[in-house]
Symmetry: C2
Subunit: 222 residues, 2 copies
């Protein structure tokens, strides 16, 4: 009875509760953190060492979300990553590279001050590595294939490391700074990077839907 994308496997919460009975916790819900470690546990959203408070809170959301994506693609072979649901679908591999491309795109805008209104002004590395994955569709179906899971995971982690390194150089005032020229309306850096975060969940939902239709592969939930 539980939204399952946060779980290693889909299971009934009540059954999960029963499992806890094997190693009971003190289980007083709504208690405060019992140790300093608790405050930086993956499932605790909040500030993180090395980051300003609000940026750290966003980082904790991004880490939580990324772990959910990694669970969904665990154990996928090259063939699984190239699986196409139908002629207009995206493969799981292309969606993973699309997520890395999205991180890079928002780096270019929010760290490098590129307003992104001139395609010619996009950095060469974006054009070469990420433009096709960013757009998805037919060019992505044609060219993003034949890669191992590690290829995609390396792309994701390399871009993300750079994102977090840049976050560590900035503060909460930067996060709150509003760009009045952005195409979806006035928006702050928090909104742009929150979008990068929830965008992973958007495609994670699709990845799980695809995974559930790949012959021989155990579903990852809904």
């Amino acid at each position: 009875m539980f939204p399952s994308e946060c779980l290693p496997t889909r299971r009934n919460f009540l059954k999960a509760g029963a499992a806890f009975a094997v190693a009971p916790t003190t289980a007083t819900a709504f208690s405060l953190p019992t140790s300093a470690d608790d405050s930086e546990a993956t499932n605790v959203i909040g500030p993180r060492k090395g980051y300003s408070p609000q940026i750290g809170t966003l980082v904790s959301q991004m880490i939580w979300m990324r772990e959910a994506v990694l669970r969904s693609v665990k154990g996928m072979s090259q063939k699984d990553l190239d699986f196409l649901l139908d002629a207009k679908a995206n493969t799981t591999g292309s969606l993973l590279l699309h997520l890395a491309a999205t991180d890079r795109l928002f780096q270019i805008n929010t760290f490098e001050g590129n307003s992104m209104k001139d395609e010619n002004a996009m950095p060469a590395d974006f054009k070469q590595k990420f433009a096709i994955a960013m757009d998805l569709g037919e060019p992505a179906r044609k060219s993003i294939k034949g890669n191992s899971l590690d290829f995609y995971l390396d792309a994701l982690s390399q871009v993300r490391e750079k994102t977090f390194a840049e976050f560590r150089k900035r503060d909460d005032q930067w996060l709150a700074t509003v760009d009045t020229g952005w195409f979806w309306g006035p928006t702050n850096n928090y909104c742009k990077w929150f979008h990068v975060c929830e965008h992973e969940s958007n495609h994670n939902g699709q990845i799980k839907l695809l995974r559930g239709r790949i012959p021989g592969l155990k579903p990852a939930g809904e």
Copy 2:
């Protein structure tokens, strides 16, 4: 070249940029908010009046995310909402009710102190209105159908109003409070409600995938 779930329609960002040329903004990216109104614009993540600072920030994320879902289902008929991709798919209608069920489930846990380890202890309204939508699968395919879009939107807004009303009674210390007995590990209320938020994006990705396959319906992006 842009992640599209945040857009009214999928369009190239550069084309969107060109549209801005018709009504140019002062467009100095990275400037601070120019008016008090900017700080509560939908695309500005941050505190909201009536809520403690961190709860308000979460509320701004939840509102942003919900608007993306509403864009994805705009104009859908009863038939569209009942569209089944295949024998194990969920309909868009059932996914919308699943989102309302998720809000209600986390209300029961975080506002009403129900640890959710005993199914018999779940409130009657949850069992009656939401249990099937929460679980999805075959029972949902059989029973959640024949409803208009307004039926689902009303369910979503009614539950969400209650969530926000309860948020207004609480503070940031409550949001940071850790539940050591939760089944995915020690976790705070922020993480639980952030999950409710990103969970909407997870299913929004699926809703858009489904929408792109409903005959005669214009896709809502990727």
